[in-house]
Symmetry: C2
Subunit: 542 residues, 2 copies
Amino acid sequence: MAIVGVENSNTWMGAGELLSSEHASVVSINLFVVLLCTCIIIGHLLEENRWLNESITALLIGICTGVVILLLSRGKSSRILVFSEELFFIYLLPPIIFNAGFQVKKKRFFRNFSTITLFGAIGTLISTGVISAGIYVLNLQLNVKYISHHKLVAIGAIFSATDSVCTLQVLNQDETPLLYSLVFGEGVVNDATSVVLFNAIQSLDFSHISSIASLEFAGSFLYLLISSTILGVLVGLLSAYTIKTLYFGRHSTDREVAIMILMAYLSYMLAELFSLSAILTVFFCGIVMSHYTWHNVTQSSRVTTKHAFATLSFVAEIFIFLYVGMDALDIEKWKFVSHSPGTSISTSSILLGLVMVGRAAFVFPLSFLSNLTKNFSSDKLTIKQQVTIWWAGLMRGAVSMALAYNHFTRSGYTQLRPNAIMITSTITVVLFSTVVFGMLTKPLIKFLLPPTKQMLASDSMKSLAIPLLLDGGNSDDEESSNSLPRPTSLRMFLRTPSYSIHYHWRRFDDGFMRPVFGGRGFVPFVPGSPVESDDLQQQWLN
Amino acid sequence: MAIVGVENSNTWMGAGELLSSEHASVVSINLFVVLLCTCIIIGHLLEENRWLNESITALLIGICTGVVILLLSRGKSSRILVFSEELFFIYLLPPIIFNAGFQVKKKRFFRNFSTITLFGAIGTLISTGVISAGIYVLNLQLNVKYISHHKLVAIGAIFSATDSVCTLQVLNQDETPLLYSLVFGEGVVNDATSVVLFNAIQSLDFSHISSIASLEFAGSFLYLLISSTILGVLVGLLSAYTIKTLYFGRHSTDREVAIMILMAYLSYMLAELFSLSAILTVFFCGIVMSHYTWHNVTQSSRVTTKHAFATLSFVAEIFIFLYVGMDALDIEKWKFVSHSPGTSISTSSILLGLVMVGRAAFVFPLSFLSNLTKNFSSDKLTIKQQVTIWWAGLMRGAVSMALAYNHFTRSGYTQLRPNAIMITSTITVVLFSTVVFGMLTKPLIKFLLPPTKQMLASDSMKSLAIPLLLDGGNSDDEESSNSLPRPTSLRMFLRTPSYSIHYHWRRFDDGFMRPVFGGRGFVPFVPGSPVESDDLQQQWLN
C-alpha cells in the first residue's frame, strides 16, 4: 500500500497536515538516493585520479546541491537538510567503525597497540590543551572576555577529534599499513579520551585543580577504555559462541548474516546505554567477530558479510560527506556572521592554525618517545613517517560538526552571535581541511614515501614467508608473513622479546579460545558447510 | 564519540531536555535488537515445528514484551512502541517486496500472470464490495446510523488487503510453487487496486454513480498498473545498463552491491513520489534486476546480493511482527472500549466473518473463470487448491494495521469511540488471523496437498528435463525444466499455443535485450570476474 494513497485518504479524514511533511521526506529520500548513486558512479570514474577521492567528490556534490536548493528556494534553504546528530551517531557511524575493526589487519594493529594508545590518549589531551590555551591567549575576538573554562576545553576537544572516516578514505591499508593502523587506531582511542574529557570537565572545578582530581580523571579514563573494550569483546564472543553452538549454517545463511549484523549493532547500542565509548566497543567487536565468528559460518555467509559490511560502511561514508556538504550551505547559520565576514574568516584561520600546532605538539614528541622503546631500527618511525602521521590526522570531519552542533546550538538553531561564529568556523575548518588537506594527502604520501619501495618490501617479505608456512592459502584475514606459529623454525624466529606477548596469546588462543568459540581450523565439519575449500575461498573473496 | 557524552555535555550547555528522549530511543533500539536476535534463535530452534513459524514466534514474543512493559510501567504503556506508518512503508516494506521479486520463480509467475491479475484486481474489488455491504447491512452496532459511504469503502478496502508478508512466511515457494505465485502475486496487484480505490472514492459521488465514472475508475486503475510496472522495469534496466557499461566489477564489489541496493530503493521511492503503487514498482524492479543486473556483476557480488537481500527482508519481516505484537498491548487504545468489551468482540467476529465471506466470494468464481481458459487439465485449479488459495489469503497483517491507523487516528491517537472500536477490532482481527489461521495453514496444506506427490512430480520433471539441457548447472534463478530454448527438440516441445508468448519473448530477449542490458550468457569476459565457474556458483549459492 503506497503512502501516497494513505496521504490522499488523509485529506478526507481531516489529517491533511501530515501530507506535506511526508511528501517532503519522500522528496529528500529520493534526492539523497540519486546523489548517492551519482557519487558512487563519479567516484568509480575518478578512481585513477590522484587528487580526488570519494569523500571529496561527495562533499563537492553536496555543496553544489546545497547551492541549487538555495537558488530554487530563493534564499530560504529548507530545514530538512540540517545536520542531525542522531542520524550520524546512531545509524551512520556504527557500520563504518565496525567495518574498520572487521577488516583491520589485526596483527599489525596489536603490534603497535602501545603507540596507538599513546597517540590516542595522551596525544588528544595535549592537542586539547594546546588549542584551548591558544584560544585563551588570542581571545579570538569573540567579544566575550570572560569565556568559561568549560567552553574553552569543549572547543579544544571539538577540534582535537581526528576524523577516522577521512583517514580511512585517504590512507590505504595495503600501501601504508603501519601509518594506517597508527592514524586510524589513534582516531578510535581519541573517542574514548573525548568522552572522558566531556564527562570530567563537568565535575572538575578549574579553580582548585588538585592531584586527587587528576588521579580521578586518569582513573575514569582507564575505566572507560577497559570497560568499552571488554564489552565489545564479550558481545563478539557471544556471537561466535551462539553461532558455533546452534550451527545456523545447517539451515540458513540468512540467519547467520542477520545475527552477525544485529550483534554488531547491539554492541554499539549497549555501549551507548552504559555511557561507554561506543566507537571503541564496536571496533573491538568487529575484531573479535572477524577472528572467531566469521570462521564459524558457511562460505556464502563469509562472502556476504565481508562485502555487505564493506558496502554499508562505504555508503554511510559517502552519505556523511554528502550530508556535511549540503548542510554547510544552510542559510540560517550564515545570517549572523554575514555583516562581519572578517571575524568568521579570522576565527577559522586561527582555529586551523591551532589544529596544526596542536597536532604537531604531540606527534613529534610522542614519536620520539615511542622510538625509544623499539629495538630494531626498522620498527622506528622515520621523520618522513612522522610528518605523514601529522598531516593525515589534520582533517576534521563529521564528528567535529556533530560536537559543535551539540555544544553551540539547540536542535540546529542559535540566537547568540558568538555561538553562530563557532558553528560557521567549524564548518569552514571541516570543509577546508577535508577538501584541501584531503586532496594534498595522496600526493604528499607519494612524495614522502614512494610506493615502489614499500610495495617491493612487502612483496619480498611475502615471498620469503610463504615457503615457511604450511598452508599459505589460509591467510585471508591476517598478514601472511608470520601469523601461524606452527612450523618450529618460524616459532623460533618469532621468539624475540617483542613477539613474546603474541606468542603467549597464540598458545592461549589455540589451547582455549578457539576450541570454545570457533575460529580458523577449529570449526567441526558439518555437511553443507564447505569449510574444506580454502583455496577456492581465496579466489572468491577478491 | 558517544552520544552519551554529548548528552551529558548538554547539561551544562542548557539543553538538558534532549537527554531523556535520546536515552529513550537508545533503550528502545537495544530492546528491539535483543528481541530480534531472540526471535531468530527461537525461530531456528523451532524450524521443524509444524505449527509455529518465525512470524508467529515474533508476534507472540512481541505481545509478551508488551505485557512486561505494561507491568513495569504500571499500566501506562510507553508511547515509543506505537505503530509508525512511515517506518513501515518507507523502511520495512520495500526490502521485503523487492526480495520477493528478486527471488520469485519468474517463469511460473508470468505463466499465471492473467490469473494473478484477475485475482488481484477484480478479486479485491469484489471483496471490498462484500465487506462494505456486509457492514452496511449489519450496521455493526457502531452507534453511527449515518456512516458515510467513504468510510464504508475504506473499511472494506482495509480488510481486503491480503498480507503479502504473511503469505511469504506460510507458503513455501519450493513445495507449492503454483499457489505461492498465485497468492503472493495477488497480494502485490491487490496494492494497486487499493491505491486506486482510495484515490477514486475521494472524487466519486456515490449518489450519482454513472457509467462514465466507472470507466474513469477502470482507466485510472489500468494507468496505475501499467505505469508502476513500467517504472520498476525502467529503473531495473537502468541499473543493468549502468553496471554493464561502467563495469564496476573491474574495481569493486562494494560499488556494485551499493548501486543495486540504492537503485532498488530508488524505484520504490520514485513510485511514492509519482503517487504510483510503490509495491508493484519495486516488485518488478526486483524481477528485472534478477534477470539482467545480477548477471552483470562479479561472482562475489552475486553471492552477497542474493543473501544480503534475503537477510534484509527476513529481518524486516520479523521486525514487523514484533512491532505489531508490541503495539497491540498499548493501553491507550483499549481504554475507550474497556467498558463495553462485548461491542469490540462482536465487531471483530463480524469483521473476521466478512473477511472469510469476502474472500470466498471471489476465489471460487474467479478460479472457475480461470479454469475455463486453460486447455490442459493439469493447469486447472482443483477444488483443494482453491480452498488453499482462499485460506492462505485470509491473514491480515501490518498493511491492514497501517491503513486502519491512518484512517481512524491522528498520529496514533483517537478521541472518538467508534474510531477506537475500529482500531481495536483491526488489531484483534490481525492477531487472530495471523496466529490462528497462520498456525493452521501448514497442517492444512499438508492435509489437502500431500507433499510427497508434489515433490515427486517436480523431481521427475527435473530428472526428465536435465538431459535435454546443454548446461543444467546454469539454471540457478529460473526453473530448470524449460527455461533454455537452445536445443531444437525442446524448442519444438515449447511451441504449443500457451507458450508462444514466452517463445517470442525469449527471441526478443536474446536478440535485443540481453546484448544491451546484459544477462546470463551475454556478459563479456573481463579479467577478475569469474563468469566461467558456473558449477562452482551452484555449490556456493546454497
